[in-house]
């Protein structure tokens, strides 16, 4: 197991290197001089040269990369061009909101997906199966910002059941916090719910056709025991993979959902930074998103062995 983890980490190194090169090059792909963004109206040659020196832009590109990488390794992501706040602080301030939203969205997706996927598989070809399949198709075709807009219109503007935006930290007022997170979580989690339901259904159908399930039926086990103890436990193994990747991709979905619901998380920070051309912040968020995705991939592989002992890494 340890050998496998080490091998996976070693394989990750060249990819991680290329990811850092890609993220570093983002600022160099940008048309125009970053110094001009920092300076605004004061664009004297002396001021531009000073900014170049301050940002290290007067050095050869590979030197700039090594310096940047060294800083990143020490947790120093630089300062925001617009607010001058350390980028690390800006992100950590916003991260709890994104994590709360991501967790709620994931819970919503599982609460919907596992029961409906199971029912669809057990009652294959029934009305329930068609409804579940319909939800799956709609869930992956509806853009999450459109789901958000419809939810705001129906449940917030028309029925006034939920607030249409804003964030209250969980520690400050748990009830209000949950009240505020419901709509963004549904908007963010619906596509995931559709995918998880599809996986649960197909995996459950496969498991229900196995000999050991047939044996359990033949032994006279109750349907609850056959479905929940024998079948569902094993059917959820492939779902673990997809859920793990969804955890890694929380920031991706949050970019849009947080914009719709004025949710002060990392995703909204990314959008604000792009419109302000604050590339140090954008770089850091893209790097964070890529590394959390890579880490999620690794963790999924490791957890897989734990949930399915038949898998060998030798």
């Amino acid at each position: 197991m340890l050998t496998y983890v080490l091998r996976r980490l070693l394989l990750m190194l060249p990819v991680a290197f290329l990811v850092t090169v890609g993220v570093f090059m983002l600022i160099h792909l940008t048309p125009g001089d970053p110094a001009l963004i920092v300076l605004g109206e004061d664009r004297s040659p002396q001021a531009i040269a000073a900014i170049h020196q301050q940002l290290g832009l007067d050095k050869p590109i590979y030197v700039q990369y090594v310096i940047w990488l060294g800083r990143i390794a020490h947790g120093d992501f630089g300062r925001s061009i617009t607010t001058h706040q350390p980028v690390g602080t800006a992100i950590t301030e916003r991260l709890p909101a994104t994590l709360e939203l991501g967790t709620a969205a994931l819970l919503w997706s599982l609460i919907i997906a596992i029961p409906l996927g199971t029912i669809a598989a057990v009652k294959r070809g029934s009305l329930a199966d068609y409804i579940a399949t319909g939800i799956t198709v709609a869930g992956v075709s509806l853009p999450n910002f459109f789901i958000g807009v419809v939810l705001i219109f129906v449940l917030s503007v028309s029925l006034r059941l939920f607030p249409f935006g804003g964030y209250i930290p969980l520690g400050q007022d748990p009830v209000e916090s949950l009240h505020h997170v419901v709509l963004p979580a549904i908007a963010l989690g619906t596509a995931g719910a559709a995918i998880n339901m599809r996986f649960t259904r197909s995996s459950m159908i496969e498991v229900l056709n196995n000999d050991y399930v047939r044996t359990a039926w033949a032994k006279g086990a109750s349907w609850q025991r056959v479905i929940f103890i024998h079948a569902l436990k094993n059917a959820l193994i492939p779902v673990v993979t997809i859920v793990g990747l969804q955890i890694g991709g929380i920031i991706e979905g949050a970019v849009v959902t947080e914009t719709v619901f004025t949710w002060p998380g990392v995703g909204r920070l990314a959008v604000e930074s792009i419109s302000d051309r604050d590339y140090t912040v954008v770089q850091a968020i893209v790097l964070l998103a890529a590394f959390s995705y890579m880490l999620a991939n690794l963790l999924v592989d490791l957890v897989y062995r734990w949930v399915d002992p038949r898998i060998s890494y030798s």
């Binding site: 990819v15 990811v19 992956v140 075709s141 509806l142 991706e252 970019v255 893209v286």
Partner: protein, 293 residues
């Protein structure tokens, strides 16, 4: 026991001719989904004829007209522009973006996959690490980052979405080539002296078409969704282009009184994405013998 001849008389071979209608009857889901997609293309093609008004024509006297108003079937937006005309013209933005993005992903990813699968060795190792690095980014984040760097606009959105699509094609084609290059018909052709280019384009590529067709359809759905998302965030189409994502973004400000301004373009995106996803899914079921029921 009758003594049947070991080698039967050669029978006249009848070419298996399958008519279009028979094919449509055999795969009704594919037919229906293809019809949806064809309808989208048709709407894009004839949008100038179908549209009752100029999608950019501002009419300050008629803002916020509700659906079913005289002369404006779906109503008008905050500037009095006809919503139906803007939605119809929206197909002329979304479909070309999807087409170009898929083409970028298909050609770049396909060539990388072909080279990796056929050449193997160090070439495969190096190119696939590049693909792995692209895969390390969540798709939308990569597209947003690229557009942020290149600058907002439809052209850059197309390039960014195309780059995001590259890894899927590269991995798909590489995997298929790795399987195919060891098959007997390829070995036989090679032993007859066929050059690598002839082997790849004449023998390997035609056998890759089925999974690629499925991928093209699915990635077109993703491209429409990604383009709408980028435009919603202000990174794709810019005002006053009649773009669905951009229309939802401006329409959501008026949800209190005029919800259709956001809901109509949202429905258009959903139908378009659904059509391509459905086509991809049904093609996969029809073309993969293991999934045929």
């Amino acid at each position: 026991m009758s003594s049947a001849p070991l080698i039967s008389e050669p029978q006249p071979v009848r070419a298996a001719r399958v008519g279009g209608l028979a094919l449509a009857g055999k795969y009704p889901r594919v037919t229906l989904a293809s019809a949806f997609v064809a309808l989208l293309f048709l709407v894009a093609l004839v949008a100038p004829i179908l549209s009752p008004h100029d999608p950019l024509a501002v009419n300050p006297d008629n803002p916020y007209l509700p659906p079913l108003s005289p002369g404006h079937l779906l109503g008008t937006d905050e500037l009095g522009r006809d919503l139906l005309s803007r939605v119809l013209w929206g197909t002329r933005v979304s479909l070309p973006v999807a087409f170009v993005a898929v083409a970028v992903g298909f050609f770049a990813g396909g060539i990388i996959g072909l080279v990796c699968g056929y050449a193997g060795g160090v070439t495969d190792l190096l190119l696939m690490r590049f693909i792995d690095a692209l895969l390390a980014f969540p798709g939308l984040i990569l597209a947003i980052a690229l557009v942020a760097a290149l600058g907002p606009g439809l052209r850059n959105a197309m390039i960014a979405i195309g780059i995001v699509a590259i890894p899927a094609y590269a991995r798909l084609v590489r995997g298929q080539v790795l399987q195919l290059k060891h098959m007997e018909f390829v070995t036989a052709t090679r032993s007859l002296g066929a050059q690598p280019l002839r082997l790849v384009f004449g023998h390997i590529l035609p056998n890759l078409l089925n999974p690629i067709i499925v991928q093209v359809s699915l990635s077109a759905g993703f491209a429409i969704l990604a383009e709408a998302t980028l435009s919603f965030l202000g990174l794709g189409a810019q005002v006053p282009t009649p773009d669905w994502g951009q229309m939802i973004n401006s329409g959501r400000t008026f949800l209190n009184n005029d919800p259709w301004l956001a809901i109509v373009p949202g429905a258009a995106i959903s139908v378009a994405v659904f059509s391509f996803n459905w086509l991809g899914d049904s093609l996969r079921d029809a073309l993969d013998p293991r999934l045929r029921s």
